[in-house]
Amino acid sequence: MWQIDEDALESISIGAGILGTGGGGNPYIGMLRARELVREHGPVNVLDLDELPDDSRVICVGGMGAPTVGVEKVRGTESYRAVRAIEKHTGERATALISGEIGGSNSLEPVIPASLARLPVVDGDGMGRAFPELQMTTFFIYGLPPTPSAVCDEKGNTAIIEDAVSATWVERMARAVTIVMGCAPVFAFAPMTAADVRRTAIPGTLSLARSLGEAVRRAQREKGNPIDAILATVPGRVLFHGKIVDVERRTTEGFARGRVTIEGTGDDAGAQLVVDFQNENLVAQRGGALIATVPDLICIVDAERGEPITTELLRYGFRVSVLGFPAPPLLRTPEALAVVGPEAFGYQAVYAPLER
């Protein structure tokens, strides 16, 4: 067990940004919200999957809606109400909370209800990175029921989705409610058992985000190389070093799609890397050849500071390092690839695992 204190919050928010693979929203507001509560109620305990008591009831929470709205109508303690709503509906008390998505702003959402309810959070999540939709969490890919689920806004409104034929339908219905609620609600799902969580959650991702953030902060402080620091923390490799020479964007069906072209420098001089994104970075091609695809993590970071660059901030002239991290094993199975593999995002490509 370890604890999330103010310092850990700062590190997690940087690490979660890197694991956001270009999307997932800016963790800054989430960090501030959690910090308010940690300052008031003290640090929050974090449990490994192994440390979860067998009779645990674990509730997954996260924010829904548009990141642009989330920075204006900043969320409060709605996720605490969402947890209580699920408890009321199921008659079961939560004993721990877990994030649905470690990448970006949702990484710290469970810390808010955990602080208020004096519950621990689980060191893990349902994506190991960021993805755009609910059905892309490993909990649902591996068959846990997504209902009942609760969607709560800041006004005191709660919608319960009693039943749905699939996680995709929960996503659709929740999204309709999200818009009525003004695009910054939170959700919570039916409690999971300890066995459920051990079987389906991506383990250790909160610690990973913290270590990544610590490594970057230490490198910045000691004027070291943050890229080396990142790679010493997470197994992965540099896919490319270079300079952004073109960014092309378009928006379809509410998703920010686009493509960034990077011209190689140093060892990669003379080569080009093209990364396609749809909120998150999905596919990287070097000279037309696929070198990394979703669900493996493709992270674009500032070459000097090691800080993540989200897809909306990509711009000509940035010196970047493109890092590739193998996706956790739970995202590489046939069941997972059917939902989060390259084909699920409309690519003809067959998933070729990125090796270390």
């Binding site: 507001i29 501030l32 919200r33 308010e36 509560l37 829904m64 809606g65 548009a66 990141p67 642009t68 709205v69 920075v71 204006e72 109508k73 900043v74 969320r75 409060g76 303690t77 808010i112 755009p132 800041e154 006004k155 005191g156 999204r175 818009i179 003004g182 695009c183 910054a184 300079k243 020479v245 073109d246 928006t251 069906e253 509410g254 998703f255 920010a256 909120n279 909306e312 901030l313 711009r315 000509y316 002239g317 940035f318 010196r319």
Partner: protein, 535 residues
């Protein structure tokens, strides 16, 4: 869109009516006297602690120097660029006791006003806040209804606590500012003296950053009002009975009353004026501007005559804001940068203003970047013979390093790989070669040392709109047309001549994860100052 000359094309080549531009920098206060596009006189004086004295001296420099004083009637306006309010924030002195009234209903309460401020600054302004009913959704619906009584009660409580300035911030006020205006009206009824800052007039979407900007503005309101009065008084004492304008961060003007109310809008006008002045002098609208000072070099990019704005959060006195500041890359390299031999290193330390004593060409013993430029016969400064003894290889390697770093910065600010004209300004510009990678040509315009004051003198009047539209409901072209109309109206209201106003910037940012094609549209329009046009 015009493709000739700079955006100041409205100015005539030469004109009888005169304009004065003044820039108050950290070290120098510069002034220029312009007739149309022509620079008649220029002056450089030291900035004084009270600011006003330096302004008066600079003005005397351009108005009294040589050929006698021009007839007062011929001077149409004085344009001032000043960043001096920044010091008040950094020192935390003279700040008004400030309250924030946030109109939010049940939303956003977990993160109260001032929540991420440095403790000392928060204490210096008092840090009172009120979270009241109101605010809007992204699509303009009310979060909760506005509550007159709650606002009145808050106003009375604030006044009882000695609050002198109030910042008003409604959730999504850039989309719908109605609640902020209503609250302002009610507070004014409670106390006509309290200074009011409306966040919707200052910042963009991003609640905390916009609210912070409004609160900083409120805190500066007393100082700003005094400074504006002092400057106007000083001009009156000089017999200059002319309108005074202040240049804003985005390169457009505001009148003195507005500047007294919204000082934060002037806080980063310095770099903007310098870049706009450079473009004007070189006669180009799209260019890279390299401003080489004594200690550092700023590299920025002009798009249609205006500096491109940074997209990331800008911190003022350690407070996050979301102003549109020019997107500059600063490198620690200037004319006074100290050169170390083995291994070769230039900067970041600099002899700064002591260059005239410490540099080799001035008989000193410190090797500076300027000495290298003189040794390479790029400039005649001090006693050039002293630099001739420098090792040729060292000079070559040092200047190659200057070139490499400037080229890298130039490349980073550019939007595409296409070469652009590059305008060099600033006292240290002799360091930079006439050919640079990424530059189609390198221009060194005359009067470049007072580019910032010229930037102030040629500033125009603007209007800016930012709203979220559901393009499924209104259609993209209709939404764009509505936003443009609003921006043009605002520019005209701000004093631009209606016939000359044009849209100079349109930005569309689709909001992800939202169906209905919700898109944030921002439009900026500018025009020549009406009634003061130099004809």
């Amino acid at each position: 869109m015009s493709d000739t000359g700079t955006r100041a094309v409205g100015l005539e080549e030469d004109a009888k009516a005169l304009r004065v531009g003044v820039d108050v920098g950290g070290t120098n206060t510069d002034a220029v006297l312009m007739a149309g596009r022509r620079v008649l006189r220029k002056a450089k004086t030291a900035t004084t602690p009270d600011v006003t004295t330096g302004i008066v001296r600079a003005l005397e420099g351009v108005l009294a120097e040589g050929g006698g004083q021009p007839a007062q009637a011929e001077i149409q306006a004085v344009m001032l660029g000043t960043t001096h309010f920044m010091n008040a924030l950094l020192e935390g002195r003279g700040l008004a006791r400030t309250a924030v009234v946030r109109l939010c209903g049940p939303a956003t309460r977990l993160l109260p006003p001032f929540c991420d401020w440095p403790e000392a600054l928060r204490a210096a302004v008092g840090g009172h806040s009120y979270l009241l009913p109101g605010g809007h959704e992204f699509d303009g619906r009310e979060i909760t209804g506005f509550d007159d009584d709650a606002v009145r009660e808050a106003a009375r409580d604030a006044l009882a606590n000695g609050v002198e300035a109030v910042a008003l911030c409604g959730v999504f006020s850039p989309v719908n500012p109605a609640h902020e205006s209503q609250a302002a009206e009610l507070i004014r009824q409670e106390s006509p003296d309290v200074s009011l800052s409306l966040s919707s007039e200052i910042g963009r979407v991003g609640l905390l950053e916009r609210e912070n900007a409004a609160a900083l503005n409120a805190a500066l309101s007393r100082i700003a009002a005094r400074a504006v009065d002092a400057i106007r008084g000083a001009l009156a004492d000089m017999g200059l009975d002319v309108p005074v304008f202040f240049s804003q961060n985005d390169g457009t003007l505001m009148d003195a009353e507005y500047a007294a109310r919204y000082p934060v809008l002037a806080m980063s006008s310095g770099p903007t004026n310098s870049m706009r002045g450079a473009a004007f002098l070189a006669g180009i609208e799209d260019a890279v501007v390299v401003d080489v000072g004594g200690t550092s070099t700023d590299v920025g990019i002009l798009v249609q005559g205006f500096p491109r704005a940074a997209s990331t959060a800008v911190k003022l006195a350690e407070v996050r804001t979301n102003f549109r500041m020019p997107d500059l890359i600063s490198i620690a390299l200037g004319g006074g940068s100290i050169v170390r031999r083995e291994p070769l290193e230039l900067g970041p330390s600099s002899v700064g203003a002591r260059i005239t004593e410490e540099a080799i060409v001035f008989g000193g013993s410190t090797l500076t970047a300027t000495d290298l430029a003189v040794a390479a016969e790029r400039a005649e400064i001090g006693e050039p013979a002293r630099a001739r003894t420098l090792d040729a290889e060292l000079v070559e390697r040092g200047l190659a390093e200057v070139r490499r770093r400037v080229e890298q910065a130039v490349d980073r600010v550019k939007l595409s790989a296409d070469p652009l004209p590059l305008v060099l300004v600033g006292g240290g510009s002799v360091l930079v070669a006439d050919r640079l990678a990424g530059a189609s040509e390198v221009l060194r315009p005359e009067h470049a040392e007072v580019a910032n004051a010229i930037g102030a003198a040629i500033a125009q009047v603007g209007g800016e709109v930012e709203k979220v539209y559901s393009l499924e409901r209104v259609g993209r072209l209709e939404a764009l047309a509505a936003a443009k109309q609003e921006a043009l109206r605002q520019a005209t209201e701000a004093g631009a001549q209606p016939d000359g106003v044009e849209v100079v910037e349109v930005e569309e940012v689709p909001l992800t994860y939202l169906p209905g094609n919700a898109t944030r549209i921002r439009v900026k329009a500018v025009g020549e100052l009406g009634g003061h046009r130099l004809t």
